[in-house]
């Protein structure tokens, strides 16, 4: 079957890649902020500001990929817990709505901090408390958002997706890894903007993050690099488990595995998923211990490309 004849096509690769990055970045930044006692609030904001547009682009791509895009709203006329795509639609909607509310609350908080006299009572504190509450709620939707694409593929009759329980696990690990990679790249960009002489860029970033302390610290950057290293190891272990399990699921599993590791998809599998997505970033991060900026930048870029390749190759593999 050629690419053009597949019912799940290129827009879906990007949709679940973007959704994974958005949810993964949210989860990581939320936990980083939580574990560090609230000192990574700007990283968390960066995750939301980056993730929301990505998730929206992902939704638009998904709509474009529908046979009848104009009828996309039919998805919102029913709530079907067993139909994974129905659940995915509602999860994505909830994630985006809550993220929007959080952004509005942050803007109010920033404004109230700057212009205390404009609001009655402690508006900044109230906005902060509410945004904190919604952040907790949305971490549930972020986890469901990164889990949903794997479950969608696994709940089919294509052996490469459905013969094991590990496709959701693999997609979650990859989503979190790509989320961290995205945060690293965005933090580098944000810091570069912070240090730039452009007053327009500076004012945009200050509006988003507040007037002080919005730079992502060196310490946080180092922690993100270390996290990426750990996540690549987790993803690699799950990939090995998936390959072993798939191969042990009878004739259909062996056929699917052959397609992946020795057949039509072997070259892209080994070069992009394993080579670019896992081995190169692992080696670079391990050798440099996350200290050299170029190594971190390359590793994060490789993880992002590997994440896209994982989705593309598995989606194509299930339809050959």
């Amino acid at each position: 079957m050629s690419l053009g004849e597949m019912s799940w096509n290129i827009p879906l690769w990007f949709d679940i890649w973007f959704a994974g990055m958005a949810g993964g970045a949210y989860l990581v930044a939320f936990l980083a902020n939580l574990y560090s006692g609230g000192s990574n609030r700007n990283l968390f904001r960066l995750a939301v500001y980056t993730g929301v547009p990505l998730a929206i682009i992902g939704v638009l791509l998904l709509v474009v990929d529908l046979g009848t895009p104009i009828w996309f709203w039919h998805l919102f006329t029913s709530f079907l817990p067993v139909a994974v795509m129905s659940m995915g639609t509602w999860i994505l909607l909830a994630f985006l709505i809550i993220a929007f509310i959080m952004i509005i609350l942050w803007v109010i908080e920033g404004d109230a901090t700057k212009n205390a006299g404009k609001y009655s009572g402690n508006m900044a504190g109230t906005a902060r408390r509410f945004s904190g509450f919604f952040a907790w709620i949305n971490v549930i939707f972020a986890v469901l958002l990164i889990t949903y694409p794997g479950v969608l593929l696994a709940s089919t009759s294509q052996p490469i997706w459905s013969n094991t329980l590990l496709v959701p696990a693999l997609f979650v690990a990859s989503a979190v890894a790509t989320g961290v990679a995205l945060l690293i790249l965005m933090a580098m960009l944000t810091n570069a903007v912070n240090n730039s002489s452009s007053s327009m860029l500076n004012s945009i970033v200050k509006w988003l993050f507040g007037s002080t302390g919005w730079q992502i610290s060196k310490e946080t950057m180092g922690q993100l690099s270390k996290s990426l290293l750990g996540l690549i190891v987790v993803e690699a272990l799950i990939l090995v488990g998936y390959v072993i399990w798939l191969g042990a699921t009878g004739a259909s599993g062996t056929e699917a595995l052959d397609l992946l590791i020795t057949g039509t998809l072997a070259i892209p599998f080994w070069i992009t998923i394993v080579g670019v997505g896992l081995i190169i970033p692992l080696a670079l991060l391990f050798m440099n211990r996350g200290k050299a900026t170029l190594a971190v930048l390359t590793s994060a870029s490789c993880v992002l490309l590997g994440g896209l390749a994982l989705r593309a190759i598995l989606i194509v593999g299930g339809q050959l």
């Binding site: 019912s7 799940w8 989860l27 936990l31 980083a32 574990y35 560090s36 006692g37 990574n40 529908l66 046979g67 009848t68 009828w71 039919h74 998805l75 006329t77 029913s78 079907l80 067993v82 139909a83 994974v84 795509m85 129905s86 995915g88 639609t89 986890v143 469901l144 990164i146 889990t147 949903y148 794997g150 479950v151 969608l152 593929l153 696994a154 709940s155 089919t156 009759s157 294509q158 997706w161 459905s162 329980l165 590990l166 496709v167 959701p168 696990a169 997609f171 979650v172 690990a173 979190v176 922690q223 270390k226 996290s227 750990g230 996540l231 190891v233 987790v234 799950i238 299930g318 339809q319």
Partner: protein, 265 residues
């Protein structure tokens, strides 16, 4: 309402493909340009415009080379994966048990295409929706509602296709299987009596399902769906608890301990 079914007896089928033509004619589907791929089988696969086709199987059959015929079309499963995964609820079942896609509500997401264990629904790239055999229950072309047999059944010259009450056809099919076994076809089987909660297209086959290209034990696509969600969520939990905790929390704890020690000194 009584459950209905189609009984296909592969041992009576002559593969004349009258059913294919009748289906095309009744449902007003165009013929498709195909290429010879070394078999009388034509077309090579189901499509949005081909809802039933005959399969030609050349195989070893009880120690002899045989040319077997089988039917490839929607099985109208009781536990229909296509209907279960459909995110808009566009795939419906008639009271008689036949599964059809509401063409006015389907958004063409392709989920049913991936979920069907028999690879039956296909997305029509021109119309944009998924399409498949309806058992002649399409709106405006509903033969069953008029008390007529589906077009494929009506056209079958050797009565290899029969339409009727499912329970009666199950009995008839089992009787035929018993006859075949008595004749030495020990692997004879009535496919569809129990598979996927009971199919509404039953197959009498004189060898194992595998020989006839049918999945031995087809599964509902959403089997273990809870387990699949939990595996993903648990992975997120492990990641949150191990690498991220280790990097972000442990460091903070160590720093707190160090400052305590310094303070004490």
């Amino acid at each position: 309402m009584t459950e209905k079914a189609i009984l296909y007896d592969s041992t009576k089928c002559t593969a004349c493909r009258g059913c294919q033509v009748a289906c095309k004619q009744w449902n007003e589907h165009e013929g498709e340009e195909t290429e010879n791929f070394g078999s009388y089988e034509n077309p090579a696969a189901l499509s949005p415009e081909t809802w039933v086709r005959m399969q030609f199987i050349e195989t070893d059959h009880y120690g002899k080379f045989a040319w077997l015929f089988s039917r490839n079309a929607c099985m109208h499963c009781e536990d229909a994966s296509c209907a279960i995964v459909c995110p808009t609820g566009s795939i419906l079942k008639t009271d008689e048990g036949f599964v059809h896609i509401d063409q006015d509500w389907c958004i063409g997401c392709g989920n049913c295409v991936q979920a069907c264990p028999f690879n039956v629904p296909h997305k029509d790239e021109h119309i944009g929706t998924a399409r498949k055999c309806t058992g002649c229950t399409s709106v405006g072309l509903n033969r069953q509602a008029e008390g007529l047999d589906p077009a494929c059944v009506k056209s079958c010259p050797p009565d290899a296709l029969v339409f009727g009450d499912r329970s009666e056809l199950v009995n008839k099919g089992n009787q035929r299987v018993a006859d075949l076994k008595a004749k030495g076809y020990n692997n004879a089987y009535l496919y569809g009596e129990r598979e996927l909660g009971g199919l509404h297209v039953l197959y009498v086959i004189d060898d194992s399902p595998e020989v006839y290209g049918l999945p031995e034990s087809p599964q509902v696509a959403t089997k273990d769906v809870v387990g699949k969600w939990l595996t993903g969520i648990a992975t997120a939990g492990v990641i949150a608890a191990l690498p991220l905790w280790f990097v972000f929390k442990r460091k903070q704890k160590l720093e707190a301990q160090q400052s305590k020690t310094k303070g004490g000194v």
